[in-house]
Amino acid sequence: MSNLSAPTSVSTPVVVPVSRAVMWLVGTAIVAFALYYFIGVDQGAYSIFGKDMHIHEFVHDARHFLGFPCH
């Protein structure tokens, strides 16, 4: 991977060598997907807190116009 961070002629060089940044990149992606899941899916198609509907009802309108299936 180290060769990727070497100077290149392209206008934007590789600035984030994946080997070193992998923890941050993967961690961020996981958090982002979790947020996506709670805004769009939980207490609808799936529910990890049982029958509670607070999140669903709170973000309900957002769910509809962000394109998620709802009721």
């Binding site: 290149t8 590789v14 600035v15 990149l25 992606a29 805004i39 799936y46 709170f58 309900h60 957002a62």
Partner: protein, 285 residues
């Protein structure tokens, strides 16, 4: 560097989400309210029919949050947090793409990643399973609808990444322009087959059983036992307006995300130009 990019992505996403929310609050919210009113009216009409037929009448559960809270605070929080999530994901994709996808200015790359996000996360899935206002969608099918939608989102994102990789592989042989066109063609062909193969929501077993064969779950007119229409079907113009505004909100969200993130990233990356001869190993933010 990656931490600085992710932070900027999340902030740009929050700002973009706020812009999309203001748009949605003005244009989409009245459509949602009208759809909820339609639903209540339809439920009342259904109750009367059931009552006349001597069937047990279902009563709707109580509401947890008021409509005012849902339409303002709830919708706002939902869209802004969606913006933050997409901004963070955007920054991850951007960091990986930096320097690996040809000669692009940081700003132009930001717009391309935003376009990819719009298409992959929202618009391509929308083409098969479009956004629906309240009252469209049956409770019994939410599990299947949810799965189909998520499958569509996952496939469109994965295929989009595949198309970029394919384009990169074809580029040395066919040149930039033709390689891009070939990659797009491959993406469209595969996603087209996928859309043709996946069932539309109206074809789900629970729907066919209860309502017969229809393409969608959009409510048809409610009729009594003589076939007289006692309550109209869902207004087609309202459905169109809702979907148009839904697309509009996403165009705004991803467009603003790219436009805000681009200059931020450029400013972050520009100082490095001075010493590209001896680039520092990645700084930790």
């Amino acid at each position: 560097m990656e931490r600085k990019l992710i932070l900027r992505g999340a902030l740009a996403g929050a700002a973009a989400g706020l812009i999309a929310f203001v748009f949605a609050r003005i244009f989409a919210e009245p459509q949602i309210q009208a759809a909820i009113d339609y639903e209540s009216g339809r439920d009342a009409a259904q109750h009367e029919l059931d009552h006349a037929a001597g069937l047990p009448v279902e009563h709707a559960g109580h509401e947890i949050f008021s409509r005012t809270l849902q339409a303002n605070l709830g919708a706002g929080a939902g869209i802004v947090l969606f913006g933050v999530a997409m901004g963070a994901l955007f920054a991850v994709a951007y960091a990986i793409c930096l320097g690996r996808v040809g000669k692009l200015r940081p700003r132009n790359l930001a717009m391309l990643v935003a376009l990819a996000g719009f298409l992959g996360v929202y618009f391509v899935p929308f083409l098969k399973y479009p956004a629906n206002p309240p009252s469209i969608g049956h409770e019994d099918t939410i599990h299947d609808r949810g799965n189909l939608y998520l499958a569509m989102v996952a496939c469109s994102i994965v295929l989009l990444i595949g198309a970029v990789l394919l384009g990169k592989r074809l580029q040395p042989r066919f040149g930039n322009w033709n390689a891009t066109l070939l990659a797009i063609a491959a993406y469209v062909a595969i996603i087209g087959v996928l859309m043709a193969v996946l069932p539309s929501v109206g074809q789900l077993a629970a729907n066919v059983e209860e309502f017969g064969r229809h393409a969608t779950e959009t409510p048809l007119p409610l009729t009594d036992e003589k076939g007289t229409i006692v309550y109209p079907g869902f207004d087609a113009d309202r459905l169109y307006a809702f979907r148009l505004y839904s697309v509009g909100a996403q165009v705004l969200l991803w467009g603003a995300l790219g436009l805000i993130f681009g200059p931020l990233a450029e400013r972050l990356l520009q100082p490095r130009k001075a010493n590209t001869e001896h680039p520092e190993p990645v700084h930790n933010a």
